[in-house]
């Protein structure tokens, strides 16, 4: 989808999109949720959803991610026909079935993640983009299955994988089956990795819990977006000795870089070039040539 198209699409979407509303309110002018500046909405959209004033990174939709990262018209979505079930008949404040129906109305049927393949700077890549709008991008059976198939197909095709993570963690409403997706996706990543293939993980705001403690933290290279919130346990539940405050910048990308957990923080405008450059090394001519002599 060319840039102009998805901008239009995005604008239409925003009218009925609660997640979008939360960050970029509808209408021509928006107030940035981070710096509070009132900004012409088009300026944010054309800036890959990055606030032109404060550089805050708002979440693009999966379609926008694809347009931003991949070569034009190279994208082929896969497994978009997988749809969730309600294995536990889960009923909380509202039923899981209701939540699913509401989430499906907002997104394009790709559930919590859109997967597929395309070309990045003319190199074949398998790409997954999580969608926070679908029950907070949580990992249920569909997300787990699509991630697993993505790595399996990439392994069969000897292609790199790029994963854009954004998640609320495991999908509680599928109970233990959702926890098991951690083991399942990890095993698929392991097989892809054991075959000597590269995997670059991109952690966007937010990436917590089960997704981080499985496939998202297993990249050969891990990139985070500026100020992205990344951590296993939510800051609300962190146990602190009485009265102590959480460290400044706790669980932000910048702190994670200092603590040695990620490789680098890349501004969204530079991301495509960075990925092309990194893949040039990890899936490059040299390495395949040398690999052939093994």
């Amino acid at each position: 989808m060319p840039l102009s198209d998805w901008l239009k699409h995005r604008r239409q979407q925003l009218a009925g999109d609660p997640a979008g509303k939360r960050t970029v309110p509808g209408g021509i002018w928006s107030k940035c949720a981070n710096c509070g500046e009132t900004i012409y909405q088009r300026d944010i959209l054309e800036n890959l959803h990055v606030c032109p004033e404060c550089d805050h990174h708002f979440p693009p939709s999966p379609d926008e991610w694809v347009a931003a990262l991949l070569d034009k018209d190279s994208w082929r979505q896969t497994n978009s026909n997988l749809t969730p079930e309600d294995p536990l008949g889960f009923i909380g404040r509202k039923s899981y079935k209701e939540s699913l129906a509401a989430a499906m109305a907002v997104t394009d049927g790709h559930e919590g993640i859109m997967t597929g393949h395309g070309r990045l700077a003319d190199r074949a890549v398998y790409l997954g983009v999580m969608d926070f709008r679908f029950i907070a991008g949580s990992m249920g059976a569909v997300v787990g299955e699509k991630v697993t198939r993505l790595f399996e197909s990439a392994k069969d095709e000897r292609s790199p994988v790029i994963m854009v993570a954004a998640s609320g963690g495991a999908r509680m409403q599928e109970g233990m089956l959702s926890l098991m997706q951690m083991a399942k996706t990890t095993a698929a990543v392991a097989r892809h990795s054991d075959a000597g293939l590269p995997y670059i993980s991109i952690l966007t705001n937010p990436t917590p819990g089960g997704v981080l403690a499985s496939f998202a933290s297993l990249g050969d290279i891990i990139i985070a977006e500026p100020r992205a919130h990344i951590g296993f346990a939510g800051p609300r539940i962190i146990q602190q000795p009485l009265g102590e405050e959480l460290p400044k910048g706790f669980q932000r990308a910048e702190a994670l870089l200092e603590h040695g957990m990620i490789d680098k923080i890349i501004h969204r405008r530079d991301l495509r070039n960075e990925l092309a450059g990194l893949l040039g090394y990890l899936a490059g001519e040299t390495s395949s040539k040398v690999g052939a002599t093994r």
């Binding site: 896969t78 997988l82 198939r149 599928e174 233990m176 499985s214 297993l218 296993f232 346990a233 539940i237």
Partner: protein, 331 residues
């Protein structure tokens, strides 16, 4: 057996037991009338126990799993292993006492054993962080997973943790990374892996020891994606609703077997493992021995392939014919 602790729903049983004991200690206990009363009471207690314990609610099971007198890792090591040799350390930061690891012999078979240790008394429980590992605990576990792999020793894990620890240090030292690495290491392990959940199976902290070829769970142990309390605070903004959350999470052995998440359930005595621990120890021991023998017959290739497929197939979803828009379907 002295009972120092009982749960709310056990109160009627405990009260009857108390009355029975009082009568038994009565100097006139041998008088026919009193003797009859005693016999009657014993019968009533048996009936009440059966009624109370055979239809435990998920929340009651969670309480039994957390029972202070429930046998924990140390008891299993003492009762089902011989020649136990504890080993320590992640070789990088700290020896996490919430994870215990070592070499053990079970039913004559040498294994590497790694488990959560919740501690024995208050001081020890604090030292072991109530069985919630820090990142260095997972890394300690990983070290011993690799030791098992190197020396071709089957791996037995004992799961019993409320979950990963939500603390600043644990976050700063990358517990998500450590858990993922633990899952990944188990995935590739070339030796049989057997997991036994003896009590609490709290989400990621439990799963980190749970990527196994065969998963055994005690009847009243639970295994859950989130604690009932955590689920209740998210769903109903109230930890008091934990019993309701326990109902919906599908965390009991019955649910877990149905979903194909676990492979074997070991019966507990009426009232829970702490009522008659010996029975449970023998059950766990023979299940481990039987499983090790079975798995050792498999080749490395069979083991790792079957382990992959075991988790590969978990998850329920629909797959109608592919959208034409989507272009293709990868599988």
């Amino acid at each position: 057996m002295t009972r120092r602790f009982y749960m709310d729903f056990e109160k009627p049983v405990v009260e009857l037991e108390h009355r029975l004991n009082t009568l038994k200690e009565d100097p006139l206990a041998h008088e026919p009338d009193i003797h009859k009363e005693i016999e009657w009471l014993e019968e009533q207690i048996e009936k009440l126990k059966l009624r109370t314990y055979s239809n435990l609610s998920p929340w009651q099971k969670v309480q039994i799993a957390r029972h202070p007198e429930r046998p924990r890792l140390a008891a299993y090591i003492k009762e089902i292993t011989s020649d136990w040799r504890e080993l320590h350390g992640d070789r990088a930061f700290r020896d996490d006492p919430a994870i215990v690891a070592g070499l053990a012999t079970i039913g004559g078979r040498q294994v590497v054993l790694v488990g959560h240790d919740r501690g024995s008394d208050t001081r020890d429980r604090i030292r072991r962080n109530f069985g919630s590992p820090h990142p260095e605990g997972y890394r300690k576990a990983i070290r011993f997973f690799r030791l098992a792999d190197k020396f071709n020793l089957p791996l037995v894990t004992i799961i019993d943790t409320p979950g990963a620890y939500a603390g600043v240090g644990a976050e700063e030292r990358g517990q998500a990374w450590a858990i993922a690495e633990s899952l990944r290491t188990l995935t590739d392990l070339r030796v049989p892996v057997i997991a036994v959940n003896i009590g609490e199976g709290g989400s990621g902290g439990a799963l980190a020891l749970g990527v196994a070829d065969h998963i055994i769970v005690l009847e009243h142990a639970y295994y859950s994606v989130i604690t009932p309390e955590g689920c209740a605070s998210i769903l109903w903004k109230s930890k008091e609703k934990a019993p309701a959350a326990a109902e919906v999470l599908g965390l009991t052995t019955t649910d877990l077997m149905k979903m194909g998440i676990i492979d074997e359930v070991i019966d507990e005595p009426l009232g829970g493992a702490h009522r008659e621990p010996g029975v449970v120890f023998r059950g766990v021991e023979s299940a481990i021995v039987r499983t090790v023998e079975r798995l050792l017959k498999k080749s490395t290739e069979e083991l790792t392939t079957e382990r992959y497929e075991r988790f590969r197939r978990l998850g329920v979803f629909m797959e109608p014919a592919a959208d034409t828009d989507a272009g293709e379907n990868a599988r």
